[in-house]
C-alpha cells in the first residue's frame, strides 16, 4: 500500500474513497429503477471477437460493445483526470498516460477472455471447443501483468512517459472500495459464514505485526548485519503491507527518506513474483480448501494491489479446478473476499504499529531532547480507503438484511459497479508489472536487501502464512452456485 500523497494535494487514499463511493452510489440507482451505469462495458469469454464486448445492462444493448467500451473509457478518463488534478498531477501527462494504461490493460483483458484461455470445463461445449486452459476470464489479469512486465523491463522510456498514470495503489484501492459492496451482497446471503471469515481474519493482525515483523527484524539485524535504520522499515515492508508500512516505519524511526523508497521498489518487485507464483501453487494444492487459499494470499503477498490481485486469480483458478476435478461449482467472490478481509485488517493497524515503534525508538533507542510522539500519528497513518470499503460493505449488507426483497436488485447494482472494479483490477495488474523493473533493481546493488527478502519471504513468511491460514480457514467452503 503506498501513501501516494501529493505534495500539497489530496492523498490517493482519500481519492480512492471518493471515486469508489461515486461509482458505488451511481450503481445504486438500480434500486430505484434508474439504470445509471448500465452502459459500462462487460467482457465475455469469446470465440468470435465481435461478441467479446457487451454493455453490462440489456437496457443499453443498442450501444453495442465498442460503444460501451468507448463510453466507459471516456467516463473513467473524466473521473480519474479530476482525481489527478486533485493530486496535483500534470493533467496533460495524466490524460496521455491513462489513455495508454486503459487501452493496453483492456486489450489484455480481451485477449485473456479468449475461450481457449478462459473457458471452464463445463462450458467447452457451449463454445464448441475441445480444450481450454480453464483460467476463467481473470486470465486477462495475468496477460496484463505479463504485458506490464514486458513494458516495464524492455521499454522503460514508455513507463517514464506515462508515469503519471502508473498508479497501481490508486487503482486497487478504488477497486477495493467498490468490492466492499459486492462482498456486502455476498455476506447478506450467507451472514454466518461471512461473520466467521471476518472474525478469523483477525489472525492476520497478530501474525503480520507480532510474528512476521519480529522474525524478519531479527534475521535482518542478526544474520545480515543491517543497521536499525534499514532493518525496521525492511521488516515492515516484508511483513505488513509493503510500501506504506515501510514508509510509516521509516518515518516513525526517523530514517532517511531514501530508505523506504529503496525498500518499496524491492517490495513491488517481489510482490510481482509472488503474484505470478502463489495463485498457481494454491490452485494446484489447495483447491479442496478454497478459503485457506484466499487467506494465504492475504497473509503472504505484500502490497494491497498484488495481494487482492492474487486473491482474484486464486478465486478464479480454484473455482475452475474444483469444477473440473470435483464437479463442485463454488460461488465467486468468497476467496478474494477472504484475501481482502485479511489485507484490510493488516492495513488498519499500520498507524498503531508505527506509533509503537516511534515510542520505542524515541524513548529507548534513539533519544533526542524534547522529542515527543503524538497519538494523532495513528490517524495520520490510517489507510483511509478502508473507510470506503467498510461503508460500501455495510450499506449493501444492511440493505440485504433489512429489505431482503431488494437483494436481487442490489445484486444487479453491484454487478454494474463490478464492471468498473474489474477495469481497476486489470489496470492494477498492468501497472504493477510496469513498475517492476528487475534490471534496475539489480544495477542499484540491492543484493543484500534482496537476500533478506528472499530468505524471509520464501523461507518463512509464505509457509507460516499457509500454516496460519490453514489453522483458521480449513474446512470452510464457499457456498455452491444454485443449480
Amino acid at each position: 500500500m503506498a501513501t501516494g500523497q501529493a505534495a500539497h494535494g489530496v492523498s490517493e487514499d482519500w481519492l480512492s474513497v471518493w471515486i469508489g463511493l461515486f461509482i458505488f452510489v451511481l450503481s445504486l440507482g438500480v434500486l430505484v429503477g434508474a439504470d445509471v451505469l448500465g452502459w459500462g462495458v462487460a467482457t465475455a469469454v469469446w470465440t468470435d471477437l465481435g461478441k467479446a464486448l457487451v454493455p453490462v445492462s440489456k437496457a443499453y444493448a443498442g450501444l453495442g460493445g465498442i460503444g460501451a467500451l468507448v463510453l466507459t473509457y471516456l467516463f473513467l478518463l473524466v473521473v480519474m483526470t479530476i482525481g489527478a488534478t486533485a493530486l496535483r498531477a500534470s493533467v496533460g501527462k495524466f490524460v496521455a498516460g491513462f489513455t495508454f494504461v486503459f487501452w493496453a490493460s483492456y486489450i489484455c483483458w480481451i485477449v485473456g477472455s479468449w475461450a481457449y484461455l478462459a473457458a471452464t470445463a463445463d462450458r467447452l461445449g457451449a463454445y464448441k471447443i475441445s480444450w481450454s486452459l480453464s483460467l476463467t476470464a481473470e486470465a486477462g489479469f495475468l496477460v496484463a501483468l505479463v504485458a506490464g512486465l514486458i513494458v516495464g523491463n524492455l521499454f522503460p522510456g514508455l513507463v517514464e512517459a506515462t508515469r503519471e498514470a502508473i498508479r497501481p495503489e490508486w487503482y486497487i484501492k478504488t477497486a477495493i472500495v467498490i468490492l466492499g459492496g459486492f462482498l456486502g451482497v455476498t455476506a447478506a446471503e450467507k451472514l454466518g459464514l461471512a461473520t466467521a471469515v471476518m472474525f478469523r481474519g483477525l489472525c492476520a493482525i497478530i501474525e503480520a505485526y507480532l510474528i512476521y515483523w519480529a522474525v524478519v527484524y531479527f534475521v535482518a539485524r542478526r544474520y545480515f548485519g543491517l543497521s536499525r535504520e534499514w532493518a525496521a522499515p525492511l521488516a515492515s515492508g516484508i511483513s505488513i503491507c509493503g510500501v506504506s508500512a515501510a514508509i510509516a516505519t521509516a518515518s516513525a524511526i526517523k530514517a532517511r527518506p531514501i530508505v523506504p523508497i529503496v525498500i518499496s521498489s524491492l517490495v513491488v518487485v517481489f510482490s510481482c513474483v509472488e503474484l505470478l507464483i502463489l495463485p498457481f501453487l494454491a490452485s494446484a494444492f489447495l483447491y479442496t480448501e478454497p478459503m485457506v487459499a484466499g487467506g494465504w494470499m492475504g497473509l503472504a503477498v505484500k502490497t494491497d494491489g498484488a495481494a487482492v490481485a492474487s486473491g482474484a486469480i486464486t478465486d478464479a483458478l480454484i473455482r475452475a479446478k474444483a469444477l473440473a476435478v470435483q464437479g463442485v461449482k463454488y460461488q465467486d467472490g468468497w476467496m478474494v473476499g477472504t484475501t481482502t478481509t485479511v489485507k484490510v485488517f493488516i492495513d488498519i493497524f499500520i498507524g498503531v504499529w508505527a506509533f509503537i515503534l516511534a515510542v520505542i525508538w524515541t524513548s529507548a533507542i534513539d533519544r533526542r531532547p524534547g522529542e515527543r510522539v503524538s497519538p494523532g500519528q495513528i490517524w495520520e497513518r490510517f489507510p483511509k480507503f478502508v473507510i470506503g470499503y467498510v461503508v460500501t460493505f455495510l450499506v449493501v449488507l444492511l440493505i440485504g438484511l433489512g429489505a431482503p426483497a431488494l437483494l436481487p436488485k442490489a445484486k444487479a447494482a453491484m454487478g454494474e459497479a463490478n464492471v468498473f472494479r474489474g477495469i481497476f483490477f486489470v489496470m492494477t495488474f498492468f501497472t504493477i508489472g510496469a513498475l517492476s523493473n528487475f534490471r534496475k533493481l539489480w544495477q542499484e546493488g540491492l543484493g543484500k536487501l534482496a537476500a533478506v527478502y528472499v530468505v524471509c519471504l520464501f523461507g518463512f513468511i509464505i509457509w507460516v502464512g499457509l500454516l496460519v491460514s490453514w489453522i483458521f480457514f480449513h474446512g470452510m467452503k464457499p457456498p455452491l452456485v444454485s443449480p
Binding site: 472474525f199 501474525e207 527484524y217 543491517l226 543497521s227 530508505v259 520505542i360 533507542i365 543484500k448
Partner: protein, 52 residues
Amino acid sequence: MAERRRMGDELTRMKHEPLLDVEKKLIGWSLITGVILLGILVWISYTFFPAD
C-alpha cells in the same frame, strides 16, 4: 539514481550495530504475545464462530 547507487554501496559496507536489550525484548515479547494471542483467537474462532 546516483543517490540510490550510493545506497547500494552503503549496504555492502554497513557498520555492525549490536542488538540492544530493548530490541531483544521487542522481538521476544512480540513473538510470545503473538503465539499466545493466536492460540486464544483459534479457541474463540472455533467456539463462537464455527465455519458452518
